[in-house]
């Protein structure tokens, strides 16, 4: 026959049970573990059959309550010595007289609730409720520790974000580039002083974080339309770089390289855009200069190549003469032909003279590429008068009538070289007058397509249009019988080019005269241009 189970509620004080149950609901109001302990210890000590109680919290160095000494070494030793997973504190003796309930959850171990039992018979009725109270306490502790850990992690993260943001801010601020970010609602969010100051300078607005682009650029519709387009592309996910010129006055115009790129969140969605603008005016100028220099170098290299070819070719010719006649001289000396010896010597000396002249001319040409004197201001008329007085003998000898056009233009350049241009051209015209019964040379200038074009026109022998491009070549002589080495026009061309100009010849044909035109853009003072 089965014995009916004992009525465990017999003799129980339900008020005590109510207190223990209520305590579970009240524990959460105590912010500190110490006060939880101070509340629980007298409460549990009042449970029938209980002699004394302690609460040991892992976080606290000392336990709270009255269970001491031989019963719980957790209280006496360091907490590190107590097994965190043990159901009872290490060193706990007198089993049966002391209960130690671990304050433990799946997430961790937080301490012990320790009860010294005075009457096992009485206490056993309430033990499940005490155990439940311990469980409730453990859950509260776990929640708090988790919240504290989360709070600490959050604070750490916030500190880190703050630190990184400050560092990034310093980097952005220290940049000379114009850096700005915009959110997806077209609001300027983060920008550095460089961007702010330039924005203020160009658009006259004191930009503040959060300002809408629509409002900030409302007064400049064109700039707004352009900015809207660029930022819009970046906000649509495009990453691109453009070069753009800003500013109205030619001298104020500045080049900028603008880079736009989208800002994405961890899922890849565009949440804003960033702009980095860099002033590249100097770079652009340098690039243009470099291109110009490169062309000049190419041009000069080609010219040097031609020069070397021509010089070596022309210098070779008298050398051959010298060599040949040295052979003849040797033979004639052996034969004792005195008349022939003198003839041989004349050829050799003639060839040597020619070589000297050629070399002098080469040196002169090389010098023509250099500005020898500092630039001075001189009128065209003054220059012409100076040259005419220099070549007066030659002009008189040739019987040439020289006329100088009206008007005046002021030149600013190497006076000696500029005079050399006119002198060579006058000399050239005199040289190629041919049989002209009324030789005439006209000197002047005229405006053509916005520039001042100088000319020296004659009614001499002229030249075949097919040869017009060759006349400025080194040692180039259309008429081999003509005096000189053929270097004069090459020198003229070099001087004109040094002054940024160009030179060309126009002739209706052989026997119909020729006109040499040239420009000197670097030497003509803009204010005097085309004054007639």
């Amino acid at each position: 026959m089965n014995t009916p189970p004992a009525d465990t509620s017999e003799g129980m004080d339900f008020r005590v049970i109510g207190q223990i149950v209520s305590a579970s609901g009240l524990l959460h109001v105590f912010p500190s573990e110490t006060e939880m302990g101070n509340f629980l210890v007298p409460l549990l000590t009042g449970v029938p059959g209980c002699q004394s109680t302690s609460v040991c919290f892992r976080k606290l160095a000392q336990p709270i309550g009255g269970v001491r000494g031989e019963t719980c070494s957790l209280c006496a030793r360091s907490l590190a010595q107590c097994s965190e997973t043990s159901p009872y504190p290490c060193g706990l003796v007198e089993p049966g007289k002391v209960r130690a309930y671990p304050l433990e959850t799946a997430g961790g171990f937080y301490g012990h609730l320790i009860v010294r039992i005075a009457s096992q018979r009485e206490y056993v009725r309430y033990e499940p409720f005490v155990q439940n109270l311990g469980n409730a306490l453990a859950i509260i502790l776990e929640n708090r520790w988790q919240q504290a850990a989360m709070q600490a992690a959050k604070e750490n993260l916030e500190q880190l974000v703050k630190k990184r943001t400050a560092e990034l801010g310093k980097v952005i601020e220290s940049s000379r580039d114009l850096i700005a970010t915009m959110d997806s609602d077209h609001r300027y969010m983060v920008f550095n002083s460089a961007f702010h100051d330039e924005f203020q300078k160009v658009y006259g607005r004191d930009l503040k974080p959060g300002d809408s682009m629509t409002e900030a650029l409302a007064h400049v519709p064109d700039a707004f339309a352009q900015s809207w387009k660029y930022w819009g592309c970046a906000l649509a996910g495009e990453d691109f770089t453009i070069c753009q010129e800003f500013g109205d006055a030619p001298l104020d115009r500045q080049w900028y390289e603008l880079h736009f790129s989208p800002i994405r969140d961890s899922a890849g969605h565009v949440i804003g855009a960033v702009h980095v603008g860099r002033e590249i005016t100097e770079r652009k100028r340098a690039e243009a200069e470099m291109r110009k220099s490169s062309l000049e170098i190419q041009h000069k290299n080609a010219e040097l190549e031609r020069f070397l070819y021509t010089a070596s070719h022309d210098l070779k010719s008298p050398l051959v003469t010298v060599r040949n006649f040295l052979g003849y001289l040797e033979q004639d000396l052996a034969a004792g032909a005195a008349g022939k010896i003198a003839e041989d010597m004349d050829f050799i000396l003639g060839a040597a003279d020619k070589m000297r002249r050629l070399l002098d001319d080469v040196l002169e040409l090389a010098r023509a590429g250099c500005i020898v004197a500092p630039p001075v201001r001189v009128t065209f008329r003054q220059l012409v008068d100076e040259v005419l007085s220099t070549v007066a003998g030659r002009i008189a000898e040739c019987g040439v009538t020289v006329t100088v056009g009206d008007g005046e233009v002021v030149l600013f350049g190497d006076r000696v070289r500029l005079a050399e241009v006119l002198q060579n051209l006058l000399d050239n015209s005199c040289k190629f007058m041919g049989d002209q019964p009324a030789p005439r040379i006209e000197i002047g200038f005229e405006p053509r397509a916005g520039e001042t074009v100088f000319f020296v026109r004659d009614n001499g022998i002229g030249l075949d249009p097919r040869h017009q491009g060759k006349v400025f070549g080194l040692f180039e002589k259309l008429d081999p019988r003509a005096e000189g080495t053929g270097i004069g026009l090459a020198i003229v061309k070099r001087i004109v080019e040094v002054h940024g100009g160009r030179i060309w010849v126009e002739s209706p044909g052989v026997g119909k005269g020729a006109a040499f035109f040239f420009t000197l853009p670097d030497a003509v003072e803009p204010t005097s241009q085309g004054e007639k």
């Binding site: 008020r15 109510g18 207190q19 149950v21 209520s22 609901g25 009240l26 959460h28 109001v29 105590f30 912010p31 500190s32 110490t34 006060e35 939880m36 302990g37 101070n38 509340f39 629980l40 210890v41 007298p42 409460l43």
Partner: protein, 213 residues
Amino acid sequence: MAQTQTGSRSEIPMTQMGFTQETFPAGTHMCLIYSQEAERRNIIGKFLESGLLAGEKVAYFADTLSPDEVRGWLRDIGIELPDVDGFSISDATKTYCSSGEFVPETMLDTLRKFYRQAKEEGYPNARVSGEMSWALKGIPGSDRLMEYEALINEILITHPVTAICQYDASRFSGATILDVLKVHPMMVVHGQIVHNPFYMRPRDFLKDFQGRP
């Protein structure tokens, strides 16, 4: 509304607390043990408002806030306090320790007078709520607070002033809170009023309290 006479609990009317649907007899003595200020303000605000709506005489004893700050807080949560004699906010320390020290008998007498005055002025009921942190200031006699809290339960039988005593669990010790529970027959837990299993009859509590080492 039933007329109230002193001396018999059976004649005591029921009253609303504002923060719970249940009605309770006038003269209910409750403790609110809290650690969240927002929770306290919500419960006490509704408690005061419901008393005013019921036309009761209401008094509030403020300690952490000035009377003006209390009015501001109540206004912030949407409670407009009528500028009438029926509502007063006073400094808790001055109210509980009018002579510069805390004498339970004096304060109990003040409560009796408050109730009598309310009845004489025609109010159907009276209610009070006090912030009890004044007792942590070391004012002479403040160690007799629990004695007062126990004795008030006997006074409220004949002078049924509905009362909520506010105890901040972050400022009072756990042991004191356990005593607070022993002297309030009802307690407010999670916004609900519940019978307090810790409650001891005043004479039992006083015997235990005075017998402590």
